[in-house]
Symmetry: C2
Subunit: 362 residues, 2 copies
């Protein structure tokens, strides 16, 4: 069975590493011959919106999935019309436009922060009236890891904000003073079996995920999150891993965004859960029985951004597991991560502090 993956980044790489033991083989589409996935599967070089390249991928694959969110839905359909393409193209499309995403959440009674569309300078004033300050102005499309966002703190920040964002279709969102950021990673198979990992607690800085801890124990919020994610999965006739990031405020979860794929806040599941999100994504799209999502202890994950620490230093930390994506360093680029799994939250947090100390030294 050959699985085609659009994008050979670290997510594709970790999918392949999880899938080889299942007897699966992998073929990637990526512009870069030294992309992280290219060492653990075959590579079709090219752009993921090039119909000829996608045709070759469909030809070479029994089923196709993706590791990048910005595959145009149209391109996904050209593949889906030839071989199974999962998660389904409409789910891919649903996460690509922040306005459509908010409307989808609302239609399913999933709470979202106040927002307003901003297609021009006049819209911004109208949206501000409804949303108030502080607020975040975000491009509707192609924003990730904090790119394409502007924080509007004071009235003085408003003038020219939309133009500074590039004058593209945008959305203004109320800035939520959250108690914490939580995410839920869930999985639904082709035949509708579902499983959910425990809640993850996330820390972002500069719009990029820095740290995740799991399980975050809050049964009421967990049930709420599972309800929201289930609604989305059912609505989208979903297959694969689906993640929603929430802002927790008291007993409410505001959906911030969804990702129709394996997610950075679920990387801890490789060592910290009975079955990783990567293996479960593959089981789900191939309609195999899902694996247990039970946590194996208390896990923490730290992203390595801009530079990698020395492997020797990471591996000397108790409970530490290293993931080096073998990417060339670049400012703001995710190059790897480290997961710690310990028997107690205290031991986990102690090990996490050691990892964070390591990368704060530069």
């Amino acid at each position: 069975m050959k699985v085609g993956i659009i994008g050979a980044g670290q997510l594709g790489r970790m999918l392949a590493l999880a899938g080889h033991p299942l007897g699966l083989d992998f073929v990637f589409v990526d512009t870069s011959a030294d992309a992280p996935g290219a060492r653990v599967g075959a590579l079709i070089p090219g752009r993921f919106d090039d119909p000829a390249v996608l045709g070759r991928l469909a030809e070479a694959s029994d089923i196709v999935t993706f590791d990048v969110e910005n595959v145009p839905e149209e391109a996904a359909w050209t593949v889906a019309e030839r071989v199974p393409f999962l998660p389904p193209p409409p789910a891919l499309g649903a996460g690509q436009d922040r306005l459509a995403e908010k409307r989808l959440f609302r239609s399913l009674d999933i709470p979202v922060a106040d927002y307003g569309p901003v297609d021009g300078p006049d819209d911004l004033a109208a949206a501000l009236e409804r949303v108030g300050l502080p607020a975040v102005l975000k491009t509707r499309r192609l924003g990730y890891d904090g790119r394409g966002q502007q924080m509007l703190q004071h009235p003085g920040d408003v003038e020219g904000a939309w133009e500074r964002l590039g004058g593209v279709p945008a959305i203004l969102e109320r800035f939520v003073r959250f108690d914490r950021e939580l995410s839920l990673v869930g999985v639904r198979s082709v035949s509708g079996e579902t499983a959910f990992y425990p809640l993850s607690e996330n820390t972002h800085a500069g719009g990029i995920l820095r740290r995740t801890r799991a399980p975050w124990e809050d049964p009421a919020l967990y049930d709420l999150a599972v309800g929201h994610l289930s609604s989305l999965m059912d609505h989208l006739a979903y297959a694969g891993v689906l993640t929603v990031e929430f802002f927790a405020v008291g007993k409410t979860l505001y959906a911030n965004e969804m990702a129709p794929r394996v997610h950075n806040s679920g990387h801890w599941t490789i060592e910290g859960a009975a079955t990783s999100q990567f293996e479960n994504h593959l089981r789900a799209i191939l309609d195999l029985p899902l694996g247990s999502t039970e946590p194996l202890g208390h896990s923490g994950m730290v992203n390595f951004i801009s530079r990698m620490p020395a492997a020797r230093d990471v591996l000397a930390i108790p409970h530490a597991h290293l993931h080096d994506y073998v990417k060339a360093p670049r400012p703001g680029r995710k190059l790897g991560h480290c997961t710690v799994v310990a028997r107690t939250p205290e031991a986990r947090d102690g090990a996490l502090a050691q990892v964070e100390h390591l990368i704060s030294e530069s």
Copy 2:
């Protein structure tokens, strides 16, 4: 960092799958282009005793290790004279001759069953006098998975036994009426750090490992086994994973054989221990800090021999993890394995029984 591996079988494949997250890259030597390892690393096609092929491997690698035990020590030295080769060639050689192996064990005060060398028909009579019946006549070299062995139960089995074995240098060993078969997988890094997994309890049939359960809890035997393995590691100035298979009789452990590499009875460590034997082998030969060998529950491993069950059936069993080596089926060939990890020995044994039921149906 590129790791060269002589042999691209399932052991090499699992080494590579464990090593990619550490940022390592792999190159294999194997005669078969569709060997299990060839999907997760580069392949230099050729025989592992061909100096030209080994020269290309040394050229392409920063360090070389092996997944097959029968690499000639001479061939290992030709690599070791160019790049680091670990475990060290003498350790490789020590495990290749059953007579030399027995003598090594004895010299280190590690108990072994009575034995005698058999280089011809006359030697067999002399050895039988010392060893008695029942006994096992084994070729000194190149035997594995039960090949090259003859059980001598009755006096009538003796006549012509050596000739039936091929008339090659052999060894007669007393058949040990063991309480159980145990193995210890340990690891020693270049700088001498050591770590030991819990004891594994093994079941063989037809000379092939069928099932492993771990941890086998017996603190006295564990200490004994760690002592024996430590003696061997120190004597061999060892680096990498080293395994010894024992026959347990009362409070004594008789060493049966050693394997200077990752071992089938340690496959459960992939899901069942904090760090797998494969990752620790790589950490050890690269002189990185070793990872924790702590068990994560109660594990069981069943080998899939001659034919693979359907993935769907294996994955439907609670706690089951599938490892398909993507090898062509052949009678007696190890094609894959399944590991179950549960919270209790009872749950583990229940899941194991389901796996064994699955493969007994054919």
